[in-house]
Each structure stands twice: as structure tokens, then as C-alpha cells.
Symmetry: C3
Subunit: 189 residues, 3 copies
């Protein structure tokens, strides 16, 4: 009798402990399989202001080195140019598709001897399908494909973390480029 | 006998519960209650340099599109303006209250057809009450209230993650604005 | 008797299991020991373009307040200057050592009454030793040592989070500085 009650108490205590711990655990070992908890693919389209396309432009040079200006990307692989953008996000690679959100933020060119960039931007969604934002940051070596970090999110993407694989899907001179963004979240709440 | 079987069943249930909880490591379901581990409310005050307020100004335009300059915010909803700031943080909405820290970083306006911004900044504290920093990043649609991400922290806010709800508490022309920042951390170490 | 002992053993095992799992709960208390899962020390070297060192310069002023320009750092503690950089990373404090990666991104000076900065940059590695990136952000009070946040990573540093302790290891006028970066990751996958 006494033993049974003692055990019941222990078991109950254990259950309480468990309900506390089950809510939250953390460090994964590297051996653990890396399965994204969410995957999405989007495209975004950047049309850079060049002095003649004020109506269509979705981005503009706002910083330049001493040897540059804000209408034409600077020499030396655009080193030092800072570009602010507000680009439409689409589900396919067609610039004319109905946007599902906006890619907003900045990129800067940071290397003299070949093209590399650094990006800080967010995907901002406000539709029936997605509501909230995903924020990205990181170095972009401008290889065929490259990863940057997903550093946070809000709304539907509350506390998101992960990586995004960028692929330049099209380039037209210095005026237009289109990026494919394959988002893989590894922390979902 | 009956007691032993009862206990075995309980122990098995516990083991199952445990194996269940190990599956919920890191990946939280959306059903889980989202209780912040830390909540704080602050205000910060931004006085933009306009050519005449060099003494009081806490921020300055440092980037502008080709059609803008660095003394007056550009047309088209300030699209392309980049502003660097070092703003006092107060506990209430009074600009003259004793600052408890500094809000430091930048914001940029990134949309032509209406106001939106992108922010990268930190709250920096060095007082008896708080020591350390909280870093924020994200798109700011400039709605009545909007969320951005808390992407990191140091000192008292070591490894912090969460969201911050911004509310524009006051605006005076293009020179002064005050933001209320309601910080909700969901990862505290 | 035997049954009770068997149960005690089981319960004890469960308790041990629990204490194991409770150690890896997400929300860490401040009392918990903070052991980095990875530690690394690097140096990086910044040579700022000053109008005369185009060949050697690894960084350039790209933003300035109305009272500044892009060749000379502005008065008032360089408030408002934005600098884009692509700096070599070395394992020791010798500028001429073979670089093991590049530090890429930007810093900005954000205070009028003394030096403080805000940084957004990545360490980019593409060698046999390290492949991938680590991204940093945060306020830099420019004290002797100061911490900024590690907000993400890719490749070998997939999903990294932690802090980095910066120490200015050398300064030569407004042209050259060298930072020691002691990276401590607290989330490793």
C-alpha cells in the first residue's frame, strides 16, 4: 500500500517534470538529419534605376565610393555601391506574374577584383496565403548557387531560422536581375 | 501482481512520453503556447539633421538616391534615403527623461509608392539596470503596430531572440519621431 | 520485494534520463554553464581608401552626412560615415600572412560625441580548412573589448549562433586598423 503510493507520487513528479521539459529542448548533434521544417521557393525581380527608368525602377543606388555616382554602377566590380530595393516577389520566374509579397532592404557590392555582395533584406507578405516577414543577411559570393542565412521572422514565420539558397535566374545588363530564393527553415515555431 | 502491472504500464507510458518529447526537440509546433521569457517596453527618440539643428540632431541622412540630397528627405516617400542614428532610449515617452541606453544603427526608406522602411540597429545599455545589447533587423511597413525580429544579444541579453512590436508614438514633420518598442524575447539563456 | 527494487531501478533510470534531457532545454537559466560548442580566433585587416591608396585599399567610404565627403572621414567622430569593406582574414596578426578568408560587409559610425560603430558583415571561407560563412551584427562601442552577435551561418557553420569578442589590435591613423575576433558559438548543428 505504502509502496504503491510512494511509486504513484514518484510517477506523478516525473510526469510534472516531463511536461515542463517537453516544451523546450535545444542542442542538436551534428549527426542528426537536417530536415527543414518548412521549404518554399520564390523569385524576386530587381530593376535598377539608371536615370531613364524612373517609372519601372524598383531599386536605386544610394551609396557609392568617391570614384562613383548614383546613376551608374561604379567601376571595379561596383565595389562600394549600396542599393536600396523594394522588389516584387513572384511564385514563378515571370516578372509580370501577380506579386505575392515584396523583397525589401539593401545590397552592397564589396569586392574590387570580382563581384561579391552583402545582403540585408526581408520578404514581406501580406496576403491570405502568407502574412509576416522573413529576414535574411549574409555574404553573397555571386556563384551559381550560394547560401545566406535566415536570421528571423515574424507572423507566419515567427522566430524562423534557416538558410536560403540563391540562384541568379536572369541578368539583363546592369538594369535587371532575377533571383530564385529557395528558403529552408530549420527552426519553426 | 496487479500493482506491478499497473506500474509497468505507467513506466511504459512515461517512456513513450519521453520518446515523444525527444521528437519535439527544437521544432516547436504552432499549437505550443508562446510565452515570452522576457518582456520590456522602451521608447526612443529620433531627431533628424535638417541643416539647422546640428546641436540637437541624433541622426543624419547618409545615403540618398540620385534625385535626393543629404539635408532634406527625398521625394517619392523618401525612397532610397539611408539614415544613421544614435538615439536616446527612455522608459517613458518623454524626450527629456534620463536615457537608459542608446538606440544605434540605421534605417532606410525602401518604397516609392508609400512609406516603408528597413531597420538594422541595436539597443545598447551600460547602466546598473541593464548591461549589454539587443540587436534588431527587419522590414518596417510603418503600420500602426508592426513586428521586427530580435536577432541577437550580448551581456544581460546573451543570445536573445524574439520579436519587437514597434508603434510610432509621435511624429513632428520630418524632424522628430518617437517609437515605442515592446520587446518580447522567446529565447533567454 | 524484487518487484519494488525493479521499479525503483526503473524510476531511477527515468530520473537520470530526465536530468539528461533537462540539461538541453532551450531556455537556459543564467546559472547554467555557458560552454561554447566551437571557438575560433581570427584577425582581419582594414585599409581605408583615402584618395591615394586605390591599389591597397580594402574598404571605401560610401556614405557620409551632409557635412562630409567620401574621401576623408567626417568630423564629429565620423558620425554618419558608412564604409563598405572586403578585408583579408588571417590566423595571426600579420597583414602579410596568407588570408584564410574574407571579412565582407559594412560598418558605420553612429555617434557624434565619441566613437561608436554598428557592424553588419560576414566571414566568408572557401578553403580546405573552412567552407561557408559566419554572419555578425551589432553595436560596437569601440571599447578595449566588446561583444557583437553571431546571427547566422552557412556551410561548415550552418545555423551558427553565438557571440564574437572584438579587440582592436592595431590602429594607424584613419587608414589602417586590425581587429582580433574571438568567435564563440553556442549553437552548433
Amino acid at each position: 500500500m505504502g509502496a504503491t503510493r510512494f511509486i504513484e507520487t514518484l510517477v506523478l513528479s516525473l510526469l510534472l517534470l516531463l511536461s515542463g521539459s517537453s516544451a523546450t529542448q535545444r542542442k542538436k548533434t551534428r549527426a542528426a538529419p537536417r530536415m527543414p521544417c518548412k521549404q518554399m521557393v520564390f523569385y524576386f525581380h530587381d530593376i535598377l534605376y539608371n536615370g531613364e527608368n524612373a517609372k519601372n525602377a524598383t531599386s536605386a543606388i544610394v551609396g557609392a565610393p568617391a570614384w562613383g555616382n548614383r546613376t551608374i554602377l561604379a567601376g571595379q566590380n561596383h565595389f562600394g555601391n549600396v542599393v536600396v530595393f523594394d522588389d516584387p516577389i513572384t511564385l514563378d520566374n515571370n516578372l509580370l506574374s501577380i506579386p505575392v509579397g515584396r523583397a525589401q532592404g539593401f545590397y552592397l557590392y564589396d569586392r574590387k577584383d570580382y563581384f561579391t555582395a552583402w545582403l540585408g533584406f526581408s520578404f514581406f507578405f501580406n496576403s491570405t496565403q502568407h502574412r509576416g516577414s522573413i529576414t535574411f543577411a549574409g555574404a553573397d559570393p555571386l556563384n551559381k548557387t550560394r547560401d545566406i542565412s535566415v536570421i528571423g521572422g515574424t507572423g507566419d514565420f515567427f522566430m524562423a531560422r534557416g538558410i536560403a539558397t540563391l540562384m541568379t535566374d536572369a541578368v539583363e545588363g546592369d538594369v535587371y536581375f532575377r533571383l530564385q530564393v529557395y528558403i529552408k527553415l530549420f527552426e519553426c515555431w
